[in-house]
């Protein structure tokens, strides 16, 4: 029975983490898939948006919905700046992202000085977490699950996914998807692809800003040191999801949209993270396990020996 309970907690935790990360991951569809740029700006725009949100709420007394909107706008603006660096200043897109992340990271430190807590009861999750606690208290054996938080996150994820997929099928969205692969064809159709690309960076980072704010609100605090490396996390999860969708699900004739495959990638990622946690793996090892696990799942095993033989002949 205890095993069943711990499995519930295990699954609940993986789902919450996956859905919390979803808005942030969704930005990869715009930046990595459409614009074909691994946008490092997200390392800075995520934390800047969260910092702006907390400053507006705590120091300026602004209402939460408005503060979230301002945070999303800050993410959008941060993306526009990277876009302008790439398109107008012709700086390598990877470098432009890194430089802008430096700037945004410094601004975040200036704003909140390392870390700042949300006032208790002030965030999106305060009421939901409280309800979850009341719900869990009725359950046996100290079982803690989050039906309220999960329901909210599922609705949010579905709404975001539908919105992004819908947008990418509109004329403007299709142009954005095409802008990363062939600008000239679009330019000859009279489309200003420079503007499209800059706005694309903006949209991707608006999603990052929202994701960063959401995660910080769930944590109850903004910690600047937590965010560098976000791009590595997002890239790995996105590629795991897309590759898994391509390799594994193809066998079962299931096709997933790029946005849905992100959920699959995040579930796979958090499964191993949570497993390391559950089995008290020493803190140095989880990343090693994650890497080995993903290698094992994604590696093309068919004809591996033939490929190894050919390497040495």
């Amino acid at each position: 029975m205890e095993f069943v309970f711990s499995s519930f907690t295990f699954a609940d935790n993986i789902l919450v983490q996956t859905l919390l990360a979803f808005p942030l991951l969704l930005s990869m569809v715009i930046s990595y898939r459409c614009l074909r740029v691994p946008d490092v700006t997200m390392d800075g725009s995520s934390v800047l948006a969260a910092s702006i949100c907390i400053v507006f709420m705590r120091k300026m007394g602004v209402d939460m919905p408005v503060a979230i909107l301002v945070a999303v706008a800050a993410g959008f603006l941060a993306g526009l700046i990277t876009g302008a660096m790439v398109v107008l200043l012709r700086i390598n897109s990877l470098l432009a992202g890194i430089l802008n992340a430096f700037i945004l990271y410094s601004l975040s430190l200036l704003l909140i000085n390392a870390s700042l807590d949300f006032e208790s009861g002030s965030t999106l999750f305060s009421w939901l977490k409280e309800q979850d606690l009341i719900f869990s208290q009725r359950l046996p054996n100290g079982l803690v699950i989050h039906p309220y938080v999960l329901s909210f996150l599922i609705i949010l994820a579905v709404a975001l996914k539908i919105s992004v997929d819908w947008f990418l099928r509109r004329e403007w969205g299709v142009v954005l998807r095409g802008a990363g692969s062939n600008e000239l064809v679009l330019q000859l159709r009279g489309i200003n692809t420079r503007k499209v690309r800059i706005l694309g960076f903006g949209i991707a980072n608006a999603l990052v800003g929202f994701g960063g704010t959401l995660i910080s609100m769930y944590d109850g605090s903004v910690q600047v040191m937590r965010w560098p490396g976000t791009i590595i996390f997002a890239l790995s999860v996105a590629i795991i999801g897309w590759e898994a969708a391509r390799h594994l699900l193809r066998k079962f004739k299931i096709s997933l949209t790029e946005s849905s495959a992100l959920i699959l990638g995040a579930l796979m990622y958090y499964f191993i993270v949570r497993a390391c946690y559950t089995f008290d793996v020493p803190t140095a090892l989880p990343r090693l396990f994650i890497a080995l696990y993903i290698l094992l799942v994604l590696a093309e095993k068919r004809d591996l020996w033939r490929r190894i033989r050919e390497l040495f002949c």
């Binding site: 099928r169 509109r170 142009v175 064809v185």
Partner: protein, 249 residues
Amino acid sequence: MNSSAELLSFKNVSVRYTEGSFSDRNALDDVTFSLMQGSGFVALTGPNGSGKTTALRVISGQLRPIHGSVLLCGQDVTDEPSHKRHGLGCVFQRAIDGMCSSLTVEENLCLMLVDGGPNLLRPLVTPFRKKRVLDRARQIVSGEGRHTSLLADLKGVLQRYPAEFSGGETQQLCLLALLLQEPPANLVLADEPTLNLDQVNRQICIEMLVALSRVATVLLATHDKELIDLCGRILRLEQGRLVRDSETV
């Protein structure tokens, strides 16, 4: 079509690449010519490195001349970006360069029917646009009697991506896209469009180019003898200079 109006004017155009093998001389050197509307096929010939592709890139706005001016329909577009040069279409030597590889065939073709800039809320693929694409393809196939062509089964391949097709098939899709273009192109720049194609695909593409030449002037950079024979005028470049401008019978 008003056949007496000037379509393209290339006035004393010189181009120098700042990087690469051309840095010691101009890739185009004081080239002047003009094309009238309704000229049909015009050939741009010359040996490799003579400046044919460079001339096409200057017209499409990918390269800026260091000297001279380019006029399209009487409007000076020398310093205008590519998206401000209306009424142009391009066919490339590498057929895939004429398509967005991240979009499906259907999206690539429907994109040609978007008139007046992309809309934020309107879907790109609509039943009306899809019908127009399929009708045009059917029209080409029945007109030319090419039932083996990719276009004969276009409906079956609309959801696929351009990279899944051979060079000849992709070139057919690019030419279909140009035939669909709204508003129609009045100048098509074709850079070796039949190079590396097998006999069947080459013939289909030539027939589609002929269909294009009925509605637009097609400036062809080519070595293909059969294509040159179709041209009413031949411009010959050598070492970046226009050495011959001749009308053919």
